[in-house]
Subunit: 122 residues, 2 copies
Amino acid sequence: MERVTGIGGVFLRARDGEALRAWYAEHLGVDMGEWGGKQFAWTPGGSTTWAIFDADAEHLGEPAQSSMVNYRVTDLDAMLAQLRTAGVTVSDEVSDTDYGRFGWAHDIEGNKFELWQPPAGE
Amino acid sequence: MERVTGIGGVFLRARDGEALRAWYAEHLGVDMGEWGGKQFAWTPGGSTTWAIFDADAEHLGEPAQSSMVNYRVTDLDAMLAQLRTAGVTVSDEVSDTDYGRFGWAHDIEGNKFELWQPPAGE
């Protein structure tokens, strides 16, 4: 059978696209293209995880939030500090696991997102 | 400044997680792990595109759909045929571009998703 081989993209609908794009550029350092997005080239050892959660999953933020994106970062602590300094809502929780370190924050439209510092070499 | 370096994951909230996971396994060939998802390893030349669309973007499906995932496939025509044979709602439109071929369909919960056959070598 034919099978999906990877995650080629994720597209978010904003209430105010211009403001949300500016927010991600300013706080998460996304070099936004003229078309409102960025193509992240795959690097050796990396991966993108895709999963379907149950309706009551607290991990995805408020019940009305229908999806959550996980963003790779090089230095989780530095990214969290950068966000806190800018007044962004950042979770106090940081999760240290065998597959990396995780933190969470909310964007200007209230979407919870995940930050992930993978283990070295992944 | 600290910058996001890639898309590490995308997580979807289902109304009926068990049914939606089974649907993606059956129709899109996703080998679902025990935890309800799959880790797609990055391959040379690949990329994941991330973008923020405006509120009225028709590309993302119905106005209530807040995000859309793009899935990489090896043979778009074969995947679309597989979906049609199974009775899945598939768009008649196929887009041929310099950066690949695109098609669209809807899952069992009404989420529009994109299928992408990248150019050879990407």
